[in-house]
């Protein structure tokens, strides 16, 4: 509080802190939306959140619509470098949800892997993957993995719509197997392994998972 005195007039401070009038109507509107968003069945309690409570789903671009999967990569051609090589890719989406969605009662840690359907001859070399991470409370989200040397800042996700859904598209080689999301520079969330990869998730080196890293 040492910076308060003298920075602003007392009347201005009092005005800033003055309570505002609210109404029961606002409270009821909020609760009406909550109830409308609730499932018929009670939401499941949060499972053990060894990885920061992450819920992970990896899905195909043509999967049925559902909440959180609206950011789907439509299709298919990626111009790569100056070689004029075009890479046809499937709309593989890796999606991670920060925390349990009570309205859906989705189980944490669930991962669905649907294989790629890439037909290009370059299929075995590279694939285009979109990482999506829902975290409305996050200030920053990045993706780290063996493809970027496990850098917590090299591949940031963007929340361009301001909707709390962060995403980035990365061209990965087929050898990439391990990745994790880095939330607010400190919280590591490791969903699992890459879609279509037979390799198990690679442990994140030298950094704690699911906890603060200082």
């Amino acid at each position: 509080m040492h910076d308060r005195a003298g920075l602003l007039p007392e009347w201005a401070l009092a005005e800033l802190r003055r309570p505002v009038a609210t109404s029961d109507a606002l409270r009821e509107r909020v609760m009406a939306r909550i109830r409308a968003d609730s499932p018929a069945a009670p939401p499941a309690a949060q499972p053990a959140a060894a990885l920061g409570g992450a819920v992970v789903a990896i899905s195909h671009g043509s999967s049925a619509p559902r909440r959180g999967l609206r950011y789907q990569l439509a299709g298919a051609l990626l111009a790569l470098a100056a070689s004029v090589a075009w890479l046809a890719v499937d709309s593989t989406i890796l999606q991670s949800r920060s925390g349990l969605d009570p309205a859906r009662g989705a189980p944490a840690g669930r991962m669905i892997v649907l294989g790629d359907t890439v037909n290009s001859a370059l299929h075995d070399t590279l694939r285009l993957v979109r990482f999506v991470f829902e975290a409305p409370a996050a200030a920053r989200v990045a993706i780290a993995g063996d493809f970027n040397g496990w850098s917590r800042s090299a591949t940031p996700l963007a929340d361009s719509a301001g909707s709390g859904v962060w995403s980035v598209v990365v061209a990965l080689d087929r050898e990439s197997t391990g990745y994790a999301f880095v939330v607010d520079d400190t919280q590591w969330v490791q969903p699992g392994r890459m879609a279509g990869s037979a390799a198990p998730a690679r442990p994140i080196p030298a950094t704690p998972v699911g906890g603060d890293s200082t």
Binding site: M1, D3, R4, L7, L8, P9, W11, A12, L13, E15, L16, R17, R18, P19, V20, A21, T22, L26, R27, R29, V30, M31, R33, I34, R35, D37, S38, A41, P42, P43, A44, A45, Q46, A49, G52, G53, V55, R97, S98, G99, L100, D101, P102, A103, A108, E134, A135, P136, A137, A138, A139, R140, G162, S163, G164, D184
Partner: protein, 180 residues
């Protein structure tokens, strides 16, 4: 004795949707004040509060009890306010004239306090979004810089600088206004 926030959260996650109303009752007034100061519009502020509570409910499983629920909720609200400000800026619509609470028990219309309130509103409006956010969190919500950092994602040093510059600007504007 009122249930602590973590107990309420556990009840909601256990299936008691109505328990979320305890958190709404507990925090919606403070959220509305914060949003009103940042957005300057009562209608926008109420929209931001509604959306933030809905998001908090949807992602309640991501809340960790070692963090204060209020701080977690504030982070969602601040992000929501930023989103609304960005949309407003993209539309290049000037910020609406500040709509301060006119339904308070004390009618200050036409009073000296009412004039001061208008001056402060105009002065806040002239700040950058970052500066206004910082000064409101610091002085309206009386948060520490560490708490502000956790909510905004900005560093403590940067926040101190923002607050200092915002206050300098506010003092200049209020002084100009009083001499006008």
């Amino acid at each position: 004795m009122a249930a602590v926030d973590a107990q309420v959260v556990r009840a909601v996650l256990g299936g008691d949707t109505e328990a979320f109303g305890v958190l709404v009752d507990r925090y919606h007034e403070r959220c509305l004040r914060l949003a009103l100061h940042i957005l300057g519009s009562r209608e926008d502020a109420e929209d931001a509060v509604q959306e933030s509570f809905l998001r908090a409910y949807r992602y309640l499983g991501g809340y960790r009890e070692r963090e204060k629920f209020a701080a977690w909720l504030y982070r969602i609200l601040v992000n929501q306010c930023r989103t609304m400000l960005a949309r407003r800026n993209r539309r290049e619509v000037p910020m609406a004239s500040w709509e301060w609470d006119t339904t308070a028990a004390i009618d200050v219309a036409g009073s000296e306090l009412g004039a001061l309130r208008d001056e402060l509103a105009r002065a806040l409006d002239s700040l950058s979004d970052d500066q206004r956010e910082a000064v409101v969190l610091r002085f309206a919500e009386e948060l520490t810089y560490d708490e502000m950092s956790a909510i905004t994602g900005a560093g403590v040093s940067a926040l101190k600088m923002r607050v200092q510059r915002a206050c300098t600007r506010l003092r200049e504007l209020l002084l100009e206004s009083s001499h006008a």
